[in-house]
Symmetry: C2
Amino acid sequence: MSGLRTPEELEAELRRIGAERYHSNHPFHKLLHGGKLHKDQVRAWALNRYCYQRIIPIKDARVLARMEDVEMRRVWRQRIVDHDGEIGDAPDGGLRRWLSLAVGLGFDADYVRSTRGALPATKFACEAYVNYVSRRSLLEAIASSLTEMFSPQIIKDRVSGMLANYDFITPDILRYFTHRLSEAPRDADWALAYVREHARTPDAQETVLDALRFKCDMLWAQLDALYLAYVEPGMIAPGAWRPGEGMARIEAAA
Amino acid sequence: MSGLRTPEELEAELRRIGAERYHSNHPFHKLLHGGKLHKDQVRAWALNRYCYQRIIPIKDARVLARMEDVEMRRVWRQRIVDHDGEIGDAPDGGLRRWLSLAVGLGFDADYVRSTRGALPATKFACEAYVNYVSRRSLLEAIASSLTEMFSPQIIKDRVSGMLANYDFITPDILRYFTHRLSEAPRDADWALAYVREHARTPDAQETVLDALRFKCDMLWAQLDALYLAYVEPGMIAPGAWRPGEGMARIEAAA
């Protein structure tokens, strides 16, 4: 259980945790990719996940602030570029692409940005992630990013499944994911190499495994909240988005 | 909407938020008090709510640390005494009484204390509360305690309903709540008087109302998570408690 693992054993254990706990296993994702959701349920997903997208560059900045080594910071900074866009270029980056996705589904951009329609449970999970990378060791903060190891497959399933199954989904709406297909593996390779090299004691390896479990938990909790509110039994928390709210005027008039 | 309210109008608005959003309205509570849950569902509630009980004296210490006035600190400190017990006396206090409740339902005390079976969403909500009182203004931190205005009624409903409806519930198991019936109104009276006196601008009053909404949200999110996992559709997050786990040996052998 808590003996020292070789780097290969550690990686195998990380992959086992991903196979068991990554949110690709969640019933909500199976419904999403399989075309089983109606448009308002897909909207709820896009609206809530904006909260997660919103905190990614913030959590990456928290991690960046903890790195003493300039070379590490140069590597890690690319994540912030990916999500916020290059300085001075035309508006770009993952966060804006996610906003486009939500707007493509009919939302008013300001409503999405305000996060006031998001489920409280979504916000709490995202906040926990920012706190996690701020308070735990740098090794744990980096290890918590390792869900990227498992994201290319879920993204491929999502893009092909959503394009095939929903007439309101276009390649342009899903542009966020095509970018992530090249970004995520590069990030995951670096983080995995770092963790393999720096988790050199049984205790450090346990913290790494727990970091990945934590990250899987926070992703899972977001889909749990969506499921309860918008799939079954349809219990929407007071104040959270209800179908019809927060739409752009052109959609509201349609 | 954002004009200056009289203290009476502010209090009325706080009571309106409570009437709409306090977790006494949540379907899980209606099932709990109405005798509609089986023993494992009541156990799940006790196990998860331990996470909330656990952070109450911690959040109160965070608030205490922000008070410059010795008289305010002397008043607020009583909350920590209520939950942790008097210094040097026999083990006592609300947190231990909640642990007794969980043990009375069959749990191993160490399992409950570890919080490892609690739902991730429960932990995220509780963490958000500690962060809230640490980062927001002192006025907002105090206002977030105002859910105590509404707790006497829910406690009366809970104690009478659970005693009447469950043969595994005894007055001794529910001892936590009989203490809270005298503690909560005293705390709520002080906090309400403070908020009425110190929320003197429209903006300050809005932050107070938002603080109560936040607190209602974090309580509601805990019941949402219980409902999804243990009532309907019964989706228990990976790693969270499953019936049969974490029982004291005497119960496991029965």
